[in-house]
Amino acid sequence: MTPCRGHVSFTINGQQTVVDAPPMKRLLDVLREDLGLTGTKEGCGEGECGSCSVRLNGQLVNSCLVPILQASNARIETVEGLAIDAELHPLQKAFLECGGAQCGICTPGMLMAATHLLAHTPNPTMDEIREGLAGNLCRCTGFIKIFESVIAAAVIKGRETHAR
């Protein structure tokens, strides 16, 4: 039996893309297998760990739970789209400086969750940070350095916005 397939088009990190895939193929697998974007990671395959977090039309989603047909004409953002040219995103800089990444496997998803948080809440309180990242598991850091990274990034972003 040949599974049905279809063309699905969407933008990925600003680039228009078309893939030929079964409609129920997970967005995570399309990113990793069809598009070679392996920055997005699989940790549990059931939406618990958040390693596969991406933004879809400005919403934070677990890409392991999204069938590709739901991404039709969507705007998808992954970790690969955070840095612009060679310039790291303020969150990436902050994760480096504050020690927010240890083994690094949760980092892409954590960065996307933090991006999402700061997009809505530019100056989050500690409670807002905890809530914003509660869907992303990190087993290395105990989250403390990740919280510090998000606070530092908010400051950098604030400075950049101010400078403009």
Partner: protein
């Protein structure tokens, strides 16, 4: 007394918060973990596992609905060498041949070009068993009614036992003011690294076996592959890929998975990738050993320890793997950081028909430290003195001797660590406040202390046996490389070893990189375990750096002080004479470190990390949930090489310790973990971790890399007892086991009259 910071040598790079060496790749999503890699023509592998805890394999049937011609199938009969994984012993088969000894034991391997076809094929393999009685607990194993491991003798079911005796334990009991007895239990714990176990293998007659994988110990995998394939060392090559967390969980299991992937690769004649999904990883791979520890302690009227009798039992699972060394560390941490003239410790690791338990951060110490630190609390209560006072009156000091009669020769500042922890946590004021407020509130608050040490590096003669080799080379392209088999899996190996090399060579941090972790290129600097990398391997890198400078000064005209370009010019000059620029050093034990394996006496560890942790908790007597509201971690771990990474180690370890105490419960049925999903094996999230306040006192250790001691495991030792001590402070309830879940607190604290049974849930 806090040591004078002026005693810490001035350094340029060591001691500074250098950015993680591979950090940029990680934040860009560019770092390549094993599942991110492909090889040309690669197929995928999967594992058919035992559904029963113990039985004889009667028949294997390949069920209908699958075109089996498309699959490559491997059984134990396909193993070209010995069908045994090479750990301390060789009792664990690579693939079960006739008998299975635990659920989820690997029996058969399948490979197919389309990984999505594998789950149905795995499910279609029917295995018939003649069931044998299973042993599923320490207590069942102890009776030896069924002998599942070893011979039918005194040794049956017993992986290992230790007996340690100091002074005369038997004489004290009759005259002691207090005798305090209690039994403590700890549960299994899952590592829950976010990257599951994974491996890619290739095989050819000419090249032998090559594997790429997520692993801690390249030469452990190398040794097992040599045996399983009956190949010489040069025909086995192991490369570590970026590793997404390990915590001990990728110490021994990768030897199994690498063998499996390579067996499929050999039979398929193609590269094979095997990456477990979360359910398989949770069900089939190692966990922390469950334990039961009994304490009986004689104490004088002032709370001074007179005699300790300690009996430890651990559940080792179906094969011996690392159980003997885990038990050893449990034994050597069982009496705590206290002076006691008379100590007897008996410890045993038992076989059960469960998935083999293995290495996990702390390696036996968290189990026995939970017991002794909970027990000190009971002693304080029996004597009627404060939790701080019972510890202070018994602390080890410089010149005192431990349970193994190791005399502490270095500065030891437990009193200062305790003072600092009390001050930072505002202990006295908060206790007074909680005592005043608790009677009026449904949420009861409390504070708990744990004081402890963690032995750094391998136990006893271990480092001598390892005989590690590590060093530095300089490439013709002008890159200084660190040559080690010590792996990076988040804890910072790459960063601290390059910091040490750069410091020793008077170069910049950016001048130094790590050589690829490839057993065909690197010396064996030992496994990346036992909090030994900064201390033992770091010291080898420091020595290698100084040795290289001395060689360049003697043979290549390098001046006493030199610029970067003078250094590299001298290297080229040296290369013309010697062909390469390389400096390797082999481990040398610090002087006065002797260990008697027979009597279990002597210098158990070259040095120790010391700590006092304080947990602040809130127990809600409406919901029965316990929450850690603040955590204070004060430690002396020698020189801090990188303050950001060091604090990150402590915070991460404390968070895992909070999970160990209050969240993480492995549920077993017939020895199979049935809550093998992240949905129902619960670790602390960003919303659950308390603020963690980390403080270091620094006393450089003369035989560690620029003064470092071990740090990685220590923070997992203290949280669980500190948290349960705090819960006792808050509620008055003496809970003696972990994990302690809200339902456990409910059962103990909810008071029902006989007519008023709780409603069925």
């Amino acid at each position: 007394m806090t040591p004078d910071p002026a005693h810490i040598p001035k350094t340029r790079i060591v001691g500074t918060p250098q950015i993680r060496k591979e950090g940029v790749d990680k934040v860009l999503g560019r770092a390549k973990y094993v599942d991110d890699l492909e090889r040309g023509g690669m197929w995928y592998g999967a594992t058919v596992r035992s559904a029963v805890p113990r039985g004889r394999i009667r028949e294997i049937q390949f069920g209908p609905g699958i075109d089996w011609c498309e699959f490559v199938v491997v059984t134990a009969a396909d193993v070209p060498g010995t069908n045994h994984i090479q750990m301390i012993s060789t009792d664990q088969p690579c693939l079960a041949a006739d008998i299975v000894n635990h659920c989820d034991e690997a029996i058969l391997l399948l490979a197919h070009p389309d990984k999505r076809r594998l789950p149905a094929a795995v499910a279609a393999v029917r295995i018939e068993y003649d069931l044998l009685p299973a042993v599923l607990s320490i207590e069942e194993s102890e009776t030896r009614q069924e002998v599942i491991w070893g011979s039918h003798s005194e040794e049956g079911n017993l992986f290992k036992q230790f007996h340690l005796e100091k002074g005369n334990v038997d004489e004290v009991w009759a005259t002691a003011a207090h005798i305090v007895e209690e039994e403590y239990r700890t549960g299994a714990q899952e590592h829950l690294y976010i990257e599951n176990n994974g491996m890619i293998a290739e095989y050819s007659e000419a090249e032998g076996v090559t594997v790429w994988g997520s692993l801690q110990c390249p030469f452990y995998v190398h040794k097992s592959l040599m045996a399983v394939f009956a190949l010489p060392a040069e025909k086995v090559r192991v490369l570590q890929t970026e590793t997404g967390g390990a915590f001990g969980g990728k110490e021994d299991y990768p030897s199994v998975l690498a063998s499996h992937a390579a067996l499929l690769a050999r039979k398929a004649g193609r590269p094979i990738k095997m990456v477990y999904d979360r359910m398989e990883d949770l069900a089939a791979t190692t966990k922390r050993h469950p334990s039961r520890t009994r304490h009986r302690t004689a104490v004088d009227k002032d709370g001074k320890l007179l005699a300790m009798e300690i009996e430890i039992a651990t559940d080792g699972g179906a094969y011996s793997t690392l159980s003997s060394t885990v038990l050893s560390r449990a034994t050597l941490h069982a009496s705590g950081p206290y002076v006691c003239p008379n100590i007897r410790i008996t410890s045993r690791a038992w076989a059960t028909n469960t998935v083999p338990y293995g290495a996990f951060r702390g390696f036996g110490a968290p189990q026995s430290i939970f017991a002794i630190e909970r027990h000190m609390e009971q002693i304080a209560r029996a004597v009627g003195i404060d939790s701080t006072e019972v510890r202070r009156r018994n602390f080890l000091h410089t010149g005192d001797s431990t349970a193994t009669e190791q005399v502490i020769g270095e500065p030891l500042i437990l009193d200062a660590l305790l003072d600092r922890a009390l001050k930072e946590s505002d202990y006295a004021a908060l206790r007074e406040q909680f005592a005043r407020e608790n009677p009026k509130n449904a949420v009861k608050r409390g504070l708990g202390i744990a004081s402890f040490y963690h032995g750094c590096g391998f136990t006893g003669s271990g480092e001598r046996y390892l005989n590690s080799l590590a060093g530095i080379d300089v490439t013709p392209e002008g890159k200084v490389r660190v040559l080690v088999s010590s792996t990076e899996f988040g804890q910072g190996t790459n960063t601290i070893l390059t910091q040490i090399a750069a410091e020793a060579l008077s170069l910049s941090y950016d001048d130094v990189e790590m050589a690829p972790c490839d057993t065909s290129l690197i010396p064996n600097s030992g496994p990346t375990v036992a909090s030994r990398t900064s201390m033992v391997v770091g010291h080898l890198i420091e020595r290698s750096g100084h040795q290289l400078i001395a060689s360049l000064q003697e043979q290549a005209g390098l001046g006493v002080s030199y610029t970067r370009s003078e250094f590299f010019s001298a290297c080229e000059h040296y290369r013309q004479q010697h062909g390469k620029v390389e400096s390797l050093c082999r481990y040398e034990a610090p002087p006065n470190v002797y260990w008697d394996d027979q009597k279990y006496r002597g210098e158990a560890y070259p040095t120790f990390g010391w700590a006092v942790y304080i947990a602040e908790v809130a127990v809600d007597t409406t919901t029965y949930s316990a929450e850690v509201t603040n955590f204070y971690a004060v430690q002396e771990v020698g020189r801090v090489l990188n303050p950001t990474l060091a604090a990150g180690q402590i915070e991460g370890g404390v968070a895992q310790g909070v999970g160990y105490a209050l969240y993480e419960k492995v549920l077993l049925r017939n020895g199979h973990m049935f809550n093998n999903q992240m949905t129902n094996y619960i670790m602390p999230t960003a919303a659950d971790v308390p603020p963690i306040h980390v403080f270091f006192e620094q006393i450089p250790f003369a035989y560690g890399g620029f003064g470092a001691k071990g740090i990685g495991e220590l923070p997992h030792d203290g949280p669980a007892p500190a948290i349960l001590n705090a819960i006792q402070d808050a509620t008055g309830e003496n809970f003696t086991f972990i994990p302690l879940l809200p339902e456990d607190i409910f059962v103990r604290m909810a008071s029902f009259s006989p007519q008023e049974e709780p409603a069925a849930v």
